[in-house]
Amino acid sequence: MIYPAAGSMLYMLLELITAFLFGGLLLGLHRKIIARIQGRPGPPIVQHLIHTFKFYIKELTIPETSSMPLYVAIVLALSAVWVLAFLVGPVLLGPFSIIIMCYAVHKVSEHGIGLASGSPYTKMGSTRAVLSATAEMPLIVAPALVFFKTHTLVLSDIINYQILHGSLFMDLPLAAIATFILLLSKTPFNPFGIVWGKDIVSGYKTEHFGVIRGVMMFGEILGFFVLLWCFLTIFFGGIFNTPLTIMLTMIGVTIILGFICALTPMIAPYHSVMIQWIFALLALINVLFI
């Protein structure tokens, strides 16, 4: 059997598909855990993937009020951004700043998805997306601390640093917690998920069905995978640096996330912003320990 060379396009494509399948399974596990904690049997673990594939053969409806071609293009942008983040991050171990950019563009597309359809519910969701862009704060604090500590933001160098000096989690525990909150705010059913809260039907996703929802879910699964991988690599890169250990810890972190999501209620918009801010400020205290 011939393996594709690392860095070739076929290799990257295969990695992409693997990450998509694995991320989908992780989100399925997440849902299962939430159900079990709440005393329900819950859907099977493959359900999230099946859900995504199902949307690919469902009929696509585009509201007449929507702003075309933005309505379609912005969803494609959402998944394209995470494809880029995946290629730069886990596959090529490139600069972390590109992943920050991808997160920022993800916020923009969330906002755009909500606005483009013209429905009042999605508009509420997108207004909240702007509000929740304050999750920017942990995003600036964590890389800043990592940069001051390691003097580099290229992921491969960060990993090398951690192999030499031990994991960054030991030095920057508060920054790691802030990043964990960031990760938490990207998982489904999380307490900070004001943008897709059920109080506004489905937030910015209310109008999106059919193929376009499938593409969106593809992007979200990849995004979850990339953020999880970044969290593990940046703060635990010294311990978990083989594919197997990373996969196992990803499952572990997903279980923890499941527990948190199942046991916490949805927080009101301004309070959600406030809590994320408090964690970011806590991370700033970490500067004293460097």
Binding site: M12, L16, L60, V211
Partner: protein, 73 residues
């Protein structure tokens, strides 16, 4: 001349998948393959999805769907 929606989608699906296939065959340099994957994976999935979505309609299912008349309200 107006192209039918299904034909248009098929053409676009082919057009968006083609660069990926070409990239795999030619073994393009790193930066170009990253760019190709970023730009063409989401639209190709989208258009392939659109083609898939329309497929069952052209067969028996379409007739069966028409048989069931709506009797709500």
């Amino acid at each position: 001349m107006k192209i039918q929606k299904q034909t248009k989608n098929r053409i676009l699906a082919v057009l968006t998948t083609l660069p990926i296939l070409i990239g795999i065959i030619l073994n393009t340099p790193l930066v170009i393959s990253v760019a190709i994957l970023t730009f063409f994976v989401p639209p190709s999935t989208y258009y392939l999805g659109l083609v898939l979505m329309a497929l069952p309609k052209s067969k028996k299912e379409e007739d069966e769907r028409e048989k069931i008349t709506f009797t709500g309200y």
